[in-house]
């Protein structure tokens, strides 16, 4: 959880600033909010309260809602907190062979394998293959994370495709691996 938070907020770190500006006229706002709540209570609050769903507790609660406390924000450079979906994957020769379309995790949340979509010609012949996380090599080039797989693309393409609904997942590992039927 704590691991992922900085990544997520990296792109949105402006939000707290905006909230601070708003809080200047918080006094007037909270007054009007109070008035509305009182008015709603007069109207026979029962049905109104349920209509708001999450809001039914004591009238003091909405004041908390007005100013959510942001978590502690740390700023991370993009090359240290990069989204992985859609990132290109290169073969050992530096040729782009596909894109990461999913990450498979274990029960502790650690990445186990990347699902790499091999792109065919003009969107046809795409194949999803699960590649062992340890078979991927990450580096930084031009402030971009570069993903390289230490496996021959020909061998990868010969393995059974990844199917999300299946009971077990065939994962390509960096160990030398001979698939039946591959040329």
């Amino acid at each position: 959880m704590t691991r992922h938070c900085p990544m997520r907020s990296a792109g949105r770190h402006r939000e707290p600033v905006v909230l601070d500006e708003i809080s200047e006229d918080r006094a007037t706002r909270s007054f009007s909010t109070k008035a509305i709540i009182a008015f709603a209570a007069l109207l026979g609050a029962g049905s109104v309260g349920t209509a708001f769903g999450a809001a039914p507790p004591a009238p003091a609660a909405p004041l908390e809602v007005l100013k959510p406390l942001p978590p502690k924000v740390k700023t991370v450079v993009k090359s240290s907190a990069e989204g992985i979906l859609g990132q290109p994957v290169e073969d050992p020769k530096g040729q782009t062979i596909g894109n990461v379309v999913d990450v498979l995790i274990d029960p502790e949340g650690r990445p186990q394998a990347a699902v790499v979509e091999f792109t065919g010609f003009f969107g046809l012949g795409n194949r999803d293959v699960a590649v062992d996380w340890r078979a991927l090599h990450f580096s930084v080039q031009n402030d971009q994370i570069l993903i390289r797989v230490g496996l021959e693309p020909v061998a990868l393409k010969a393995m059974p495709p990844y199917k999300p609904a299946a009971e077990s997942v065939p994962v390509a590992t960096s160990a030398v691996h001979v698939t039946a039927g591959s040329p």
Binding site: L85, T119, F121, F122, G125, S182
Partner: protein, 407 residues
């Protein structure tokens, strides 16, 4: 006379360039959105949105084109909206932009296809309509093939957006071809001839009780059930079995059916006029079970690509016969575009079911089982044509341009 010739040439090139535009909105969209860091779920959602809009647009687009006095204006609106949709793909690849583009494309694609069919029916007399529709399919398949290669190369080596830029650009020559087509009003009365004096609703009721329409809708639903999911799975199999040059093999699998279509479609049109629609339809449908069976049993890129070539047979037959049979039915009831739309809905339901069924069988059983299931659906569709589909047109003996005879 020269005006009529110019109109027909305009229609040729309208088919050609419209096919080029439409090629951009194919399987490449998923690749493009992946490059824009879309998740598989988001891509699936927006493609489903497009599919739903396309399905839901069939009947409304048919009603609109039936109602519009100028089919050329209908085509122009459809073309402009397709161009706008392609530009949205280039410039606004956000959830909103792509969603809007898919909605626009869903309706405009239907409308343009409907308008082209209506213009074709209006431009030629009824006994040569099969030949005309064969020519439409020939030009469209050549356009598809050329565009697929150009866009495939552009998408892979230039940039993803070049595919949609090219699609948008092709709207311009398509528009010029449309302008070359003269007014079609005088000939259009041909379709109104048989309309009996009934209230509009009763007229539509009679149309939907026509056995030919109902039977053809059922046949088309099963045909699309067999056809739609076959290409993506075949592509995956070709790519998986081809160690090197997979791109070449897949490009061949895209282009070969288009070549077969271009060669075959005029023959299909002539055959449908000479030997009746039913026989040709049955022969075309029969290519599907064979294709599914071959995908299930053969290995190696060459044989798989050849099997995909069979798709050219069925696609040529459906491409020519769908509007032709609709024109046969509309000859008695009017509402040509509504008829095309109704058949489109039936086919669309088959398409949706095809993807779902093939996906489920592929992930739960095997790829081969998925191919065999699709082949079985194709066999069933072929049998349905034999069992329930009546002959919709009259087969005119060679060279006789007879007045239409009511069957």
């Amino acid at each position: 006379m020269t005006g009529a010739k110019r109109s027909l040439a305009g229609l040729d090139w309208l088919n050609f360039f419209t096919a080029e535009v439409q090629t951009g909105f194919g399987a490449f969209i998923a690749v493009y959105l992946t490059l824009h860091h879309w998740t598989g779920l988001a891509i699936g959602s927006v493609l489903s949105l497009g599919a739903v809009v396309t399905l839901a647009s069939q009947i409304p687009a048919g009603l609109v084109v039936d109602w519009m006095p100028s089919k050329r204006v209908a085509a122009a609106i459809g073309l402009a909206a397709l161009g706008a949709s392609a530009l949205l793909f280039v410039f606004v690849p956000s959830q909103f932009g792509i969603g809007l583009a898919e909605i626009l494309h869903g309706f405009a694609g239907c409308m343009l296809g409907q308008a082209i069919a209506a213009i074709s029916v209006a431009l030629v007399s009824r006994h040569v309509l099969g030949l005309r529709l064969g020519r439409n399919v020939r030009f469209a398949s050549v356009g598809n093939g050329i565009a697929a290669i150009a866009m495939g190369v552009g998408g892979a080596w230039i940039a993803g957006w070049s595919v949609f830029a090219l699609a948008a650009a092709m709207c311009i020559p398509a528009g010029l071809a449309l302008v070359a087509i003269g007014p079609t009003r005088p000939q259009r009365d041909a379709l109104e001839v048989r309309r009996v004096d009934r209230a509009p609703l009763a007229e539509i009721g009679a149309l939907f009780l026509d056995r030919r329409l109902l039977a053809f809708m059922v046949c088309m639903a099963f045909f699309q059930l067999a056809d739609s999911a076959m290409l993506p799975y075949a592509g995956r199999k070709i790519a998986g079995e081809t160690s090197t040059l997979a791109d070449i093999a897949i490009a061949a699998a895209i282009v070969l059916p288009e070549i077969v279509m271009a060669l075959l479609s005029p023959l299909v049109g002539r055959g449908a006029e000479r030997h009746g629609r039913r026989l040709i339809l049955m022969l075309g449908f029969a290519a599907e079970p064979l294709r599914g069976f071959l995908f299930g049993v053969v290995h190696g890129p060459a044989l798989l690509v050849l099997a995909q070539g069979l798709n050219g047979v069925s696609a040529a037959v459906v491409g020519v016969l769908l509007p032709l049979i609709a024109a046969d039915i509309a000859h008695d009831h009017g509402h040509f575009n509504l008829t095309v739309g109704a058949i489109g809905v039936a086919g669309g339901v088959g398409t949706v079911a095809s993807t779902a069924v093939a996906g489920a069988i592929d992930s739960l059983v095997s790829e081969r089982a998925a191919f065999f299931t699709l082949a079985f659906a194709g066999l069933f569709a072929t049998l349905l044509v034999w069992l329930i589909m009546p002959e919709s047109g009259r087969s005119t003996p060679r060279g006789v341009a007879a007045e239409p005879v009511r069957s």
